[in-house]
Symmetry: C2
Subunit: 337 residues, 2 copies
Amino acid sequence: MTATVKPRSEGDSETFIDRLQEDLSEDLGATEALLHTRAASPVAVIPNLSGYIVSAGGKRLRPLVTLAAARAVGETSHGTHALAAAVEFIHTATLLHDDVVDESDLRRGKKAAKNLWGNSASILVGDFLFARAFTLMVETGNLEILDILSQAASIIAEGEVRQLAAAGRRDLPTEEYLAIIEAKTAALFEASARAGALSAGGAEHAEALAAYGRNLGLAFQIVDDALDYGGTTSVIGKSVGDDFREGKVTLPVIIARRRGDAEDIAFWDRVLDVDQQRESDLAHAIHLIRSTGAADATAAEARAYAELAKAALNTLPQNTWTRALRQLADFCLNRVN
Amino acid sequence: MTATVKPRSEGDSETFIDRLQEDLSEDLGATEALLHTRAASPVAVIPNLSGYIVSAGGKRLRPLVTLAAARAVGETSHGTHALAAAVEFIHTATLLHDDVVDESDLRRGKKAAKNLWGNSASILVGDFLFARAFTLMVETGNLEILDILSQAASIIAEGEVRQLAAAGRRDLPTEEYLAIIEAKTAALFEASARAGALSAGGAEHAEALAAYGRNLGLAFQIVDDALDYGGTTSVIGKSVGDDFREGKVTLPVIIARRRGDAEDIAFWDRVLDVDQQRESDLAHAIHLIRSTGAADATAAEARAYAELAKAALNTLPQNTWTRALRQLADFCLNRVN
């Protein structure tokens, strides 16, 4: 009789996350317990809906950043676990609201919560998780961390509104795109890393870890935006073409439009008005993004930020955890969902 | 030449609020300044939308409770003003999300923000204001207050979900109705009063002021629910019949149904399924609520909570501000919008 062993291969990036989760299993276990107990409520919809999305196969990237950042510079504590759970709750609340805002029907390869419980429940349970995130943060008793995370939360919302206002804007400058993803995505990775460092008494490394988190978040989001034009829905969790159908102007589109000829530009200018989109437009958009080299250029941009993330760790003690944080940056580049 | 003087009459309850706002003008001015500066953002939609709703003629009841509670037991400070602004931001964020959830077209007698900026902007600007509320709270540097307000925020969201789950529930017990309004409305009044007391160094009076706030909030919400079946849309800000059209089971309905004969019960059981409502149903509902005495019984219930609120102040120093808080309870009973 052979025990069933989960196959592992060194080069497999999914395996890296599995291993990191295993290495941090004690910390992650404490964090998971908080994600479970703090989403509890006598109002059944709340644990049902939040349980559905919290356990929907997320990789816990932000908690992993908090935990590994803390380990890299010191010891983890209940405060670290509370923060790791808090950043995941903030992220989850954002996902719930995003799904309503974007009218997305899939999330992490499953039906979006709003399609099962309705928009109203998704909005209100998001608010609940957001509030519970703050209660968890208050438990750390650290006002500096509270300030960082509450500011990150308003920057995220600001980024989301900015993205909404930019939808369909044909001439969106690259800098505006980067400002949007820095706010809506990188700010939480940055706060996750910084808060982890501070919770472990590593104030002198907080800036470096914040820079790591910010650049990691930028790389992560750029890859995410590239994935929207690659792969197939049957393989990846994110529905290909979601951003396209919402008229979101992301880096692959900005580059492809910039490099296109007059006909290509006319194409982009039509399809970025979502009401003008036709059935075959997504396939042509993907074609243009590949043929103009915009897909490669987008990947190169993500790689550059991942390198900046890794370089930010150079001033830190070099140990298992700084190594893991570097590998996490590579993982974000190579992920397929 | 006669200066234009705003007419005043002692018995006019609107006048009482004007006077209270005047008596607290310095504190309220500092609070208003925070409501303005802390809603600032380079993303124009944010100050535009929040400015629209924040300045849409709200009475600032929750900030007034915080400020008067602080004055009743001590001195106000920047911390008090920050808390007063924070509770108004939390309230405003809730209104923005409520309008999306309830599909209300009117708010404070004006078009709901979502009808001008869309649901998505209302959700995200609500999130922004909620985050800014926490940043304001962190400025007080008082972890006890942070804990109280973050817990209040999750209780509010829990109450909203509970209300959503109860929509159309024909046999909603009075106790469940009270639990819902205690969570969705009274918890913030309670936290507003308690935080005000704590910010002014009046910890020994915090429990009494919390009880005041809770009972005031219950009275306020019961009156609100009664107003949904009285007055005319041309006079009052809240659209009459909003709750009815959403199938919300509120106290006037619970009492009218309980007191009704078989035909009345059949009527309620049909109309609480919003898909079964007909044009003339609202008028009949109002008729039943009046003829069964449910309107009077609802008013009596509100009066009882207002009395409990006033009685909770008996252990406090008796001064201008405890008197103002008592008058505020009467104001909540007598308001027409």
